[in-house]
């Protein structure tokens, strides 16, 4: 019998400290995945957690993980050459193929940038296939910005705008040097020249950020069927059996985690990420 619950073990080849509580783990192998899919990461004794894939299929697997729960904190204590169990990839990702030839608006909040990194990598690999591409990224503070180095490189081929919620006077020098925007992501939306025709929007972040960003996009005249959001739930099995990630009868693990806002608005259980819209 094929026991799909048994993970395959990968070795951690590299660990990069993105922020105080977030690290990017590069594993020893590639995996065939599409942007927006996720893996179930297993650590014996601690359990399993669903983690977005941050790498493009051309790269070795990268997982950007914030240490907040049981498994992710245990993951945070691992070192190079330690092994982790992997199941997946699971789920349906961003409609990156449909977005070919179109303008793309990428909106990310906090760790929500992790599942969108492979989108940027895909666009980098096929830059000519996409029109205008804007990445709007909100982090809580300057020292919590992920992929700092890469974000700079990305400015060479897409528009990148970053905002922070606030910055402390008494923190590292980087904070004091923050010259960029301050405020929530929707502020960046107002400031940017958002293409309203032939467009797609991909969004991932905390529920409240997604809710207001979707609202703002709709107000601006963005077509609802072309706004896609990633709904994060605690998937336990990843295969549509256990029921934990259900929202309005859909399973985030197999029908999502990426959903079109148009679909999600028709569900009789409104996802918290879209509460109060229309």
């Amino acid at each position: 019998m094929d026991n799909e619950y048994i993970p395959e073990f990968f070795t951690i080849e590299d660990i990069f400290e993105e922020t105080e509580d977030t690290k990017t783990y590069t594993l020893d192998r590639k995996i065939d995945s599409s942007p927006g899919q996720f893996l179930q990461v297993f650590l014996p004794v601690y359990g399993e957690a669903p983690i977005s894939i941050s790498s493009h299929r051309d790269e070795k697997v990268k997982l950007t993980v914030r240490s907040v729960g049981d498994v992710t904190r245990a993951l945070g204590r691992l070192k190079k050459n330690d092994r982790i169990g992997i199941r997946g990839p699971f789920g349906l990702g961003w409609p990156i193929e449909k977005a070919r030839g179109k303008n793309v608006v990428i909106i990310a909040g906090g760790i929500g940038l992790a599942p969108l990194r492979p989108v940027v990598k895909e666009i980098e690999n096929n830059r000519d296939s996409y029109e205008k591409v804007i990445l709007l990224y909100g982090a809580r503070t300057p020292d919590r910005i992920l992929y700092k180095k890469e974000l700079e490189e990305w400015t060479k081929f897409i528009d990148v705008k970053i905002t922070v919620d606030y910055f402390d006077k008494v923190c590292d020098y980087q904070c004091k040097a923050w010259q960029g925007d301050v405020g929530v992501v929707t502020k960046l939306l107002d400031k940017s020249d958002i293409p309203l025709e032939d467009n797609y929007a991909f969004m991932c972040g905390p529920p409240i950020m997604m809710k207001y960003s979707v609202m703002r996009l709709i107000e601006m005249g963005f077509s609802v069927p072309r706004i896609y959001i990633s709904l994060e739930r605690h998937m336990k099995c990843g295969m549509g059996f256990c029921g934990h990630c259900q929202i309005g009868g859909k399973y985030a693990c197999k029908d999502g985690p990426v959903f079109s806002v148009e679909d999600a608005l028709t569900w009789s259980e409104r996802p918290e990420e879209l509460e109060g819209i229309r």
Binding site: M1, G47, M239, G249, E269
Partner: protein, 333 residues
């Protein structure tokens, strides 16, 4: 389909024949237990309080084991089980579970258990006060899958053999073919039991449409004021299929990954890391469960996930009656 008659006193012979190939589960008091040698088997007149869900989908099941060094051990055991004395609602419940667990990807444990399952049904002779299967097809077994179906008629069993294995058993036992009047007596029995239920069917479409409209109805607030959200109805329901996956670890660090039943009524169900709860309010959980019986499955699979067994009412601490909920949503109360 072949229909035979089996004298009542040959039931043990029949069970022993099944036992050659299967672990046999039979009703005892309120639940199904493994048949003990020589013990008298009695089917009762109606459903058991506990169904057969835990025979194919155990409360707790090991997915795999591991040791401190990280070695994985697949602990799957291939078992052949037979359930004898199940009711139409039990089989409809299994078919409800099949929709969730056997689709494009198969839940490996359930799938194996289900493939190996031998089903012997019994026609109900009475309706309990909570029964309302007439809403979902009643006692007619022509649209469900089973191996043997027994109906007690005039001191004999009408023996319906649907699978080839069941036919083989009938041949081995040299059972006689049933006369036409016996078969018509079965229909008479069914009519009697169904009329006892006294449930006048609500049009399925009407139920669906009402659920579609009444997403923000006061009914949900009233219901969640009364409901304790204890999860008993989830666990007893033949089509509730949610489970959690947890670690069962000993002090040395050797352990197992196990799946255990979970319930969407429980507060913790939609809790995620960072103490965020997507269904923190009881009304959201109470409403969700009912929608996941009568609305979402209709959208996904074309029919509701309720079988009308009424077990949720049997176990409810505060006597919440789904029949009443249905009527208050779809009209009639």
């Amino acid at each position: 389909m072949y229909i035979y008659t089996m004298p009542k006193n040959r039931i043990n012979e029949f069970l022993e024949l099944i036992k050659r190939d299967f672990r046999v589960y039979v009703p005892e008091n309120d639940r199904f237990v493994e048949m003990e040698y020589g013990k008298h088997v009695s089917f009762g007149k109606a459903k058991t309080l506990h169904g057969i869900k835990d025979i194919v989908f155990p409360k707790k099941e090991t997915l795999f084991g591991y040791d401190v060094k990280g070695n994985i051990e697949d602990k799957f055991v291939d078992e052949r089980k037979a359930v004898v004395g199940v009711r139409v609602c039990d089989v409809r419940g299994l078919q409800g579970l099949d929709r969730y667990f056997i689709s494009t990807v198969h839940e490996p444990f359930y799938w194996k258990a289900r493939e190996n399952l031998f089903i012997v049904g019994v026609t109900c002779e009475e309706a309990t006060s909570s029964c309302f299967c007439t809403q979902f097809g009643g006692l007619d077994n022509s649209d469900i899958e089973y191996d043997v179906w027994l109906t007690r008629i005039e001191g004999e069993y009408l023996f319906e053999a649907r699978s080839s294995r069941a036919k083989d058993i009938a041949e081995t036992m040299k059972l006689e073919k049933a006369a036409v009047d016996k078969i018509s007596l079965k229909q008479k029995l069914i009519n009697k039991v169904e009329s006892e239920m006294g449930w006048s069917k609500i049009d399925d479409k009407k139920i669906f449409e009402s659920f579609k409209e009444k997403t923000s109805n006061s009914v949900w607030d009233e219901l969640s004021d009364k409901c304790l959200a204890c999860g008993k109805c989830n666990f007893i329901c033949p089509t509730c299929h949610c489970f959690d996956v947890v670690e069962d670890v000993d002090f040395d660090g050797n352990g197992e990954r196990v799946k255990v039943w979970d319930a969407c009524h429980l507060w913790k169900f939609a809790l995620v890391t960072g103490d965020h709860n997507f269904r923190g309010k009881r009304v959201a959980r109470v409403k969700y469960r009912i929608y996941d019986k009568f609305y979402y499955p209709v959208l996904t699979y074309g029919s509701s996930a309720c079988v009308g067994c009424g077990r949720c009412l049997d176990v409810c601490n505060v006597n919440i009656d789904l029949r009443y909920v249905l009527k208050s949503i779809a009209g009639g109360v």
